[in-house]
């Protein structure tokens, strides 16, 4: 029972660490972010692109 608890507890830890790494550290393409909008809005130096 103790071993099972250890396995489950450390699995939960791995999932938690994995989630935070995925959320904050992985670059955007790997995390499957939305496709970049390539349309320019047309205004000079508007800063939107």
């Amino acid at each position: 029972m103790e071993l099972l608890q250890q396995i489950l507890a450390y699995s939960i830890l791995m999932v938690a660490v994995g989630y935070l790494v995925w959320r904050y550290l992985l670059p955007k393409p790997v995390t499957g972010s939305k496709k970049e909008d390539t349309k320019a809005c047309g205004q000079n130096d508007c800063g939107c692109r």
Binding site: M1, E2, L4, Q5, Q6, L8, A9, I12, L13, V15, A16, V17, Y19, L20, R23, Y24, K39, C41, G42, Q43, D45, C46, G47, C48, R49
Partner: protein, 742 residues
């Protein structure tokens, strides 16, 4: 199989476009009153009566196709680009019955692009109430279109609208005006240059400096060139021409009896936007909201807090002992509990904000604040994102797209994180409850006043920073602010309820995942260590207790507990029945003291272990940095982890204080019981509490906001400036506050 019809919903802001979109598609969205709320294109499928389907696009609200802002430009770009996959088969222009004249300006522009165009007159239920008489048949003839009278509030007219959409082939695609009238010679040259092109479409593309995506496009050099001044003059002539047409169309078809219609709204508007009473009223409303947040939400909040303590205790006593049970009871449940206790407060906040938006009052606040913002280099357009910032800085930063002047937009983006977002609320609430007396002055609670002051401080800091940035960045040109003043309406409870549900859900789920993950990691770091002290904690602490006794805090805690118990024996019938007689009382006190001493010993061991755990060493490492602010290493850890998101602060502390804690205690009680290094004074006292609140008021503790600022400014420069300035400023203010108050 029927082809799906592409339908674009177009209209001025606040005409109820989003509500019509919801009713056509069945999708749910937020419905608000202040301008610029629809900044993204939204899509949905609508089933039509003839079994056909319509693909509906809810385009951003725009006053005209002569664009001023990014979201208005989205509309013009789509309508000019026939190659765009979303180019509509049918344009449905939404207007509002009270502002029909102004709304029709956009209608005439869209129809002149030769797109089949339907007119929807929304809020039709107000026609009799407002003394309006409308001849729909005559107006249809004048405008050469079909009209649907709709009331989204009553849910009427939608079926008729669906029928008109299904039969859109019968609509005329003819123009309303002859655009060449504004400059016959110039338009004749245009016609020669591009003979097959729609003249108005061509003119619009030239005026908006957009490219035409047509097969017949020729190089711009061959088109007659206009100076900027001439271009503006022609645009002015176009406006006059369109209003001539609209006035003519409405002259006999739309009549209003102003005597009976306008009185009450005018009085309300005068009061709400009054340069003195308007502000007083606004601050009174704010104060009422904060008072309600504290008074009303404390009952459900305390209930939730107690339930999580119960669950934690139940897991410990019913699950087999081991690491998983400890993780669940001390890490997971405490972490989730740390955020769940704030659900009532957040729900109440959004309930009131939604009421203000739905009733139409928020638009008056925007107008009122525009006056206040002008001296600081901002306009009322910046107020919308700043007010949105009270919910979350991320959509607020995105809402700045409605600001056409880049420097004004940049300044607004940079100052938005100062406004008090909902993530700060849990931090403020727990600290206020700990360090501000639960007392009142003139019926106003000190705690509610403190919360309101923190909100005002955030807003004040935002406009002060805007003023400084305005001088540094030297804004070149000013913009004019057009605020929509929607009708006052009784808030629809359905919309209010949906807003509350959506906001609370996104707060809990969005923040909850991060908090839970951090709580798990922190629990492991707090429950494991590499040093001998950690491994031998039990022996070390037991030997120390044998030699020196329990710590002064533990002794004091036991004494208070026994005093309370003795007092209850004399006053509480339950306790008196259980223990009667002097001897029985003495025995009972002895047993109780022994149990409390055992608990205190376990608590001291847990505390010692935590201090020598991985987390303890990390916390001690940063302690020199946070100690001058009045924080210990545990608060230091919470400040560090809450860099991901502010609300993580409370969850982190809840987890840290739960590690090794066997007692069923609420988060607030655990924090209230923490002592400073002297072991005599509470750690969370007025000085350290104020210091922490000020730190969170000014610090840039949100990674997601930094990411969205980077996206919106297309550079790391601005988020880095934001991060460094805000962090340094927050540190200095917190340091000063603690040193002055300690």
């Amino acid at each position: 199989m029927n082809k799906s019809i592409r339908v674009a919903l177009i209209g001025n802001p606040n005409t109820g476009k989003t509500s019509i979109f919801n009713q056509l598609t069945g999708l749910k969205q937020k419905v608000g009153n202040y301008p610029g709320i629809t900044v993204e294109k939204k899509e949905g499928i609508c089933k039509l009566p003839n079994r056909a389907k319509a693909h509906i696009f809810d385009l951003p609200g725009t006053y005209s196709l002569n664009t001023n802002s990014l979201d208005e430009r989205v509309v013009a770009e789509l309508l000019l680009d026939q190659k765009d996959g979303d180019y509509p088969d049918l344009a449905v222009v939404i207007t509002e019955v009270e502002n029909l004249k102004r709304n029709l300006f956009l209608f005439t522009q869209v129809k002149d692009l030769r797109i089949p165009t339907l007119l929807v007159i929304n809020m039709a239920d107000l026609i009799p109430k407002k003394g309006i008489s409308l001849n729909v048949d005559a107006l249809e003839k004048k405008l050469d279109t079909k009209i649907a009278l709709v009331s989204t509030r009553k849910g009427s007219g939608i079926l008729h609208l669906k029928e008109l959409i299904a039969n859109y082939h019968n609509l005329s695609a003819g123009p309303t005006t002859v655009i060449s009238k504004i400059a016959p010679e110039y338009f004749s040259k245009l016609k020669q240059a591009l003979p097959t092109e729609n003249l108005y479409r061509l003119w619009l593309a030239i005026a908006q400096k957009m490219s035409l995506e047509t097969k017949n496009a020729i190089p711009p050099a061959s088109l007659p060139i206009l100076s900027h001044k001439d271009l503006k003059q022609l645009q002015h002539r176009e406006t006059v021409l369109r209003y001539q047409f609209i006035n003519n169309a409405l002259k006999e078809t739309y009549l209003v009896d102003f005597k009976t219609a306008k009185g009450f709204r005018a009085v309300l508007d005068k009061t709400f936007t009054h340069k003195v009473f308007g502000y007083i009223l606004f601050f009174m409303i704010l104060l009422t909201i904060f008072q309600a947040i504290f008074d009303w939400s404390s009952y459900p909040s305390d209930f939730i807090d107690a339930q999580f303590s119960e669950i934690s205790g139940w897991i410990k006593s019913n699950f087999p002992a081991g690491i998983l049970t400890d993780l669940l009871a001390e890490g997971v449940i405490s972490g989730i509990g740390g955020i769940a206790v704030f659900i009532p407060q957040i729900a109440f906040l959004f309930f009131f904000i939604s009421l203000l938006e739905e009733s139409g009052y928020m638009s008056r606040v925007v107008f009122l604040m525009d006056r206040l913002m002008r001296p600081f280099g901002l306009s009322g357009k910046s107020v919308v994102p700043l007010i949105s910032g009270t919910a979350c800085a991320i959509p607020a930063v995105m809402a700045t797209r409605t600001i056409e002047n880049w420097k004004e937009r940049l300044i607004t983006i940079l100052v938005i994180p100062f406004t008090t977002c909902s993530a700060r609320l849990p931090v403020y609430l727990i600290l206020i409850a700990l360090v501000i007396p639960d007392d009142s002055i003139l019926g106003l609670s000190y705690q509610a006043l403190t919360l309101m002051l923190l909100y005002l401080l955030g807003f004040g800091m935002a406009i002060f920073s805007a003023m400084v940035l305005n001088r540094i960045l030297k804004m070149e040109n000013r913009v004019f602010f057009i605020a929509e003043m929607p009708n006052y309406r009784l808030p629809l409870l359905k919309n209010v309820g949906y807003t509350v549900l959506e906001k609370t859900k996104s707060f809990v789920i969005g923040a909850g995942k991060i908090i839970l993950a951090l709580a798990i990691i922190l629990w492991f770091l707090g429950s494991n260590g590499f040093s001998k002290n950690f491994r031998n904690a039990e022996t070390i602490v037991s030997e120390r207790i044998e030699k020196q006794g329990l710590t002064p805090y533990s002794k004091n805690y036991i004494k208070n507990n026994i005093d309370l118990y003795l007092k209850n024996i004399h006053t509480s019938p339950t306790d008196r029945d259980q223990v009667s007689g002097k001897r029985a009382i003495q025995d009972s006190v002895r047993i109780r003291t022994r149990n409390l001493e055992e608990n205190a010993k376990r608590q001291e061991i847990a505390s010692y272990k935590l201090e020598h755990s991985y987390m303890g060493y990390a916390g001690k490492g940063i302690e020199p940095l946070v100690k001058p602010l009045g924080y210990d290493w545990k608060i230091g850890i919470a400040v560090l982890t809450s860099f991901a998101a502010r609300e993580v602060f409370v969850g982190t502390l809840a987890t840290i204080y739960s590690v090794g804690n066997d007692q069923e205690e609420t988060i607030k009680n655990r924090m209230a019981g923490e002592l400073d290094e002297s072991g005599e004074k509470p750690l969370f006292n007025l000085a350290s509490g104020i210091s922490l609140m000020l730190f969170y008021a000014f610090a840039m503790q949100c990674m997601s906001t930094l990411a969205v600022v980077k996206k919106e400014t297309n550079s790391w420069r601005w988020p880095l400036v934001q991060l460094l300035f805000m962090s340094a400023f927050a540190y200095l203010v917190a340091l000063t506050a603690f040193q002055l108050l300690k």
